[in-house]
Symmetry: C2
Subunit: 349 residues, 2 copies
Amino acid sequence: MLEDKNQQKTTLAELGEFGLIKHLTQYFKISQESTIKGIGDDCAVVFSEGKETLVTTDLLIEGVHFDLSYMPLKHLGYKAVMVNLSDVYAMNATAEQITVSIAVSNRFPLEALEELYAGIQLACETYNVDLIGGDTTSSTKGMLLSITAIGTAKKEDVVYRNTAKPTDLIVVSGDLGAAYLGLQVLEREKQVFQVDPQNQPDLENYTYLIERQLKPEARKDVAGVLAELNIKPTSMIDISDGLSSEIMHIATQSKVGCKIYEDKLPLDPQVISACEEFDIDSTMVALSGGEDYELLFTVPIADFDNIKGNPNFSIIGHITEENQGMNLVTRSGQEMELKAQGWSSFKED
Amino acid sequence: MLEDKNQQKTTLAELGEFGLIKHLTQYFKISQESTIKGIGDDCAVVFSEGKETLVTTDLLIEGVHFDLSYMPLKHLGYKAVMVNLSDVYAMNATAEQITVSIAVSNRFPLEALEELYAGIQLACETYNVDLIGGDTTSSTKGMLLSITAIGTAKKEDVVYRNTAKPTDLIVVSGDLGAAYLGLQVLEREKQVFQVDPQNQPDLENYTYLIERQLKPEARKDVAGVLAELNIKPTSMIDISDGLSSEIMHIATQSKVGCKIYEDKLPLDPQVISACEEFDIDSTMVALSGGEDYELLFTVPIADFDNIKGNPNFSIIGHITEENQGMNLVTRSGQEMELKAQGWSSFKED
């Protein structure tokens, strides 16, 4: 008999759907008191006495939302969880559970899914959430993930988008635009690689940008920092599609206007230098870049002294009356109407 | 100017993601008291005082789970909701909300998604659940749906899979195998159509089978019927992958055996005649057909008089000690080991 020298890869068909779920989730532990029943029944069961339950869901599709040629599967798993937890934190709530559904074509061996789930597990452990359910199936093309996150909050703590008031300060956590530029760097390296596979990329100047793209962190900490400052936001949203798109959601839903100051937008030095290199306007990147997963919120103007100078936050503008519109005040003092140029997966043929 | 005689089709890119969600969900109403916040924020918010929350999710992929050449989009939307509600009812719980995420390639015009959402809306209205969130994106190939259903139940009412006891009766609602045969009929007609597009199919003998495949109904009613009979199931599961696969889940998780009687399996007359026509064993179809979305449950033997003769239910066997295994007693009195041949989306290349 001839020896099979191919490295052994386990096909998904060998395991079947139930075997696959069991295999992939065997090292996940349930740690939340609110998780009554995790994987293994028709439904998962959760319970939090007297608290409201928050639910959010996101669909991530290979070739639309991610590119596996530079997104390692472990990072993809981690990021997919972050995207959803970010939505829970944007309600000023605690994320406690997720469900993960995946579909994969036969081109993925079991070992690829193990990598993906290692990232999901790292996210669950780091952010203290339980994996409580999901679905696993084959796809006709590529990989897709559908994640639902579940959180809880006391009724009086939940912060919506539609409750900003004129004179409220507009505040953002962290800095903006880095994830978008990280994507540009990775796309450029991909193209270089396609032309010259021997080329060794030097990514030292872009480490922060790439990390923000490949391994974003959801701002679980913001609720705690605000509570310590004794501040309750009047409205909040997470920045997934770009700052201007998000502030416009708050303004439209709250029936108010807003004024954002260009010189207040928080930019990392790597963002500034990469913008110069790519010849892109850094304000444009900060406003429309997307995938920052920072929190954008409004606070009463009375909290100004509480929040100014806090290293976690930047005050970038304030809420106005609705009839004043939504505007950007440029460095030169000019007012321009804000435009949402957030990312859209729907493009013309 | 020349007149454009093409029928106007709206492309999804024209609307964008937010416009699309708004358009598709504009006629959906919130009717559940437990829905605090529906579509329009980072998360949906639900609250049910003192009740446990149940969560289930399913992924449906074109070319794997459904074939649009014979599945009308409105039916697909309806069925996708049923698949999830069925899991909530299988916990003896009340379904109250769903989230719907869809991804579609550019081949689908807006009008196709309107059809899909009309089916989802009909399901929501008929089953009294609120659409509270989701995600809408483009896909690189075909259509996929990811639905999450949320339900509630009092802690003491929730019925799990792992609590069946020896001597319990095994009961199934409705009848089995019709949805599988409906699929066979539709597949056959599809092939006839490919050979001879002029052929007019005569489907009169298969109306029940086709309806069970294209427009299944989740058994919302079973909880009420059982409550009226003063019966609380000791374990329950819904039949999506086929009876034998499901009873094996109950038996394995409850650490018991089971005995199913072939002559007790409930079969519709159309199932019997179609099995003859297709030359398939009707027992095999009942055991492994799948997509029945009936409920399979166990009740204490003391409830025998309560449940026997009830037109909603068939007693098909009983739970045994674990060491007796999982068996089918044939019409001739022979015992055969049950095998799960439920549907799997993972197949060898």
